[in-house]
Symmetry: C2
Subunit: 393 residues, 2 copies
């Protein structure tokens, strides 16, 4: 089975590429290193040093890993994308090739539009290229649990049966995305659902929770294979960021009360979920959504868990509640279904103290690479006037 992984140089993409190769699939990575470029532009970088794709792959092959091919490709350029699909003739296309930071998309107009072009025009290119050159391939698209927002009802997987004024229909679950980045994921989902209806394409839309962890079985095999570990205010997501903060003696920065509840999963499960989706393809015309997460935590809960484990390790830890730079509810209902992947056989890797200790130890090992100036939030969701005052405070 041949799998094309678009965005295979990124955090989830790289780990998935190695996992699928080890699982015996023929993997081709396409990436334009946009994420490395954005890092340089923003003056941030992974805590773990990331090797070049050439080094990554040559070490993977030297260790006897199954062959992985690489193509430098920008998904916003249509002709090369068509040529790639025609050449590779993939059975599955896993699409990670998107700008994945909510704060990045909120920096200013330029970053919001760039996110829209990269993500949603890129997605449109991919759908048209599939129509022309790979209409039977199975699209496995990375969406996000953030597409749903935090409605006051339980969140289903993509669709919900609604009875209204005596009639019933199963309709797309209403979405309330919380940033321009999250909006692009909703745009993509709507586009993909449409082309499944109109063109008979087949797709699985993985609405993924917040991913934590660094290592998978493959990326831990050699320094040259190591995965990203982001802790900065643009790309560092809650749990990983807390572990780095604990490691370097920085207070754990909880936005607002920390009552925000979100769905999480270990990167070891991300790669297994993608494998499950790839091995059990959607049918032609089928658009299905899998809510891809294993556990739900509040941000404050996670901070306390990290603080406890770090204290046990002898670290001096303080939790600090900061003014929330985002517009989001801090107390809300949050209950969501995630049956589809478990029905396909996913056995969740639950968060435990060992995982947190490993993350904090990894952070300590690379502590000399931390830039303390990029940790505190500097990007605001607020109206212009309020944004200026709150972030300078």
């Amino acid at each position: 089975m041949k799998v094309l992984i678009i965005g295979g140089d990124g955090y989830c993409g790289w780990a998935t590429a190695l996992h699928l190769a080890e699982a015996g699939l023929d993997v081709v990575i396409a990436d334009n290193f946009a994420r490395r470029t954005w890092d340089r532009q923003l003056g941030v970088s992974s805590l773990t040093p990331i090797f070049s794709m050439e080094e990554r792959l040559s070490h993977w092959h030297a260790l006897g890993g199954r062959r992985i091919d690489f193509v430098n490709l920008d998904v916003t350029e249509y002709e090369p994308l068509c040529a790639l699909l025609a050449n590779v003739a993939p059975h599955a296309i896993v699409h990670f090739g998107q700008q994945r930071s909510a704060p990045y998309s909120m920096i200013d107009r330029d970053h919001a539009v760039r996110t829209l072009i990269n993500n949603t025009a890129g997605n449109l290119n991919l759908l048209w290229a599939m129509r022309e050159y790979a209409p039977d391939a199975h699209l496995v698209k990375l969406g996000t649990m953030g597409e749903y927002g935090t409605p006051n009802i339980d969140i289903e997987e993509g669709f919900i049966e609604i009875t209204h004024k005596g009639r019933t229909d199963k309709l797309p679950f209403p979405k309330q995305p919380g940033s321009f980045y999250h909006l692009t994921k909703v745009h993509d989902s709507d586009q993909i659902y449409f082309v499944c209806r109109a063109w008979g394409l087949r797709a699985t839309d993985l609405h993924q929770g917040v991913v934590y962890g660094v290592h998978t079985g493959q990326t831990a095999q050699a320094t040259q294979l190591i995965n990203r570990f982001d802790y900065d205010h643009v790309y560092g997501t809650a749990l990983n960021r807390f572990c780095v903060q604990a490691a370097i003696g920085h207070s754990l920065t909880v936005y607002g009360s920390g009552g925000q509840r979100r769905s999480f999963l270990n990167i070891r499960d991300t790669v297994r979920c993608v494998e499950l989706a790839v091995r059990h393809p959607a049918q032609p015309e089928e658009y299905r959504v899998f809510n891809q997460f294993t556990e739900i935590f509040s941000v404050a809960q996670l901070a306390h868990q990290v603080a406890r484990v770090a204290s046990d390790m002898g670290l001096d830890v303080r939790i600090e509640h900061q003014e929330n730079p985002r517009t989001e509810k801090e107390q809300h209902h949050y209950h969501t279904v995630n049956a589809n992947l478990q029905n396909l056989g996913l056995e969740p890797t639950l968060l435990n103290d060992g995982t947190l200790r490993e993350l904090i130890e990894t952070a300590i090992a690379h502590g000399d690479r931390v830039d303390r100036n990029v940790i505190r939030p500097a990007i605001s969701w607020k109206p212009r006037a309020k944004a200026a005052s709150s972030l300078s405070a």
Copy 2:
């Protein structure tokens, strides 16, 4: 009250600009004549000859019309848009500046992406420019009833109260848009709803039905003020196209069975609806949706109505069912609420034989301008293989 009309050279935009000026508002039109460019590129044109903006405005002013200013502006260019908002300081911004044809967006990848950039990147530019330079202005955005698709439940105005597993919330009405064009309108709606929540902007999203008619009280005053009358397969919508077909002895082309039911309104009501929205602004942080239509018809019903009136006028008319180039249900539930505008005082202009006769007469008067080669559908919604065979048939 100062109103900026983006897209004020188009079918709805031009009529609205004149109507609002006559109603005593200070109107500024912004347009980049994109629609005129697309017409040339596609080899189509309005049945009625459209004068240049310079001629349009000089005649309007010569007839004593209230002053209307014009700015040449492309909404995809951010800096000039910011300058415009800063200079005009509008109380309301009516945004018609979008590519509005579903078939256009389905031509190929290039036209789909162009529609996305023009509409959704353009919308994003406008929202950011409002955040920076006009945070108190009221955005009146033209959406479409097509955003909803044809669910098997009644369609509400933007939001629906859902009770699910014992909990209740009022959530965005689930949308199932039927083309890349319709998708952009959903993308825009999602963006606007978000910035109302995050930035406290205020917006009215007019989910408009299919507009028919040519004249309004103002555009009928002089040849130089005449409005567009589109009959081609890209821009000609059902009722207007049927009237032209009847006028020139072309069979009325009904796509499929014609059981598709849609919401309609006369352009005379479009302009009054926009005025009602502008005069009754949304509150800060409020995102509201008005379903802007007056009647529901099936496509076959309209064809029969046009055929009857045309026959009474002595014309020889034939209805022809064509293979449907679109992917859409031809038998479906369709019932939708449109209370908001009527609560603000809209008195619907209902479709009657007189209106149809006027439309057919206008078409006859300009019959020498009809190009019969651009009437039959040549753009398909179908997968590649099927599209090639069905359209050549």
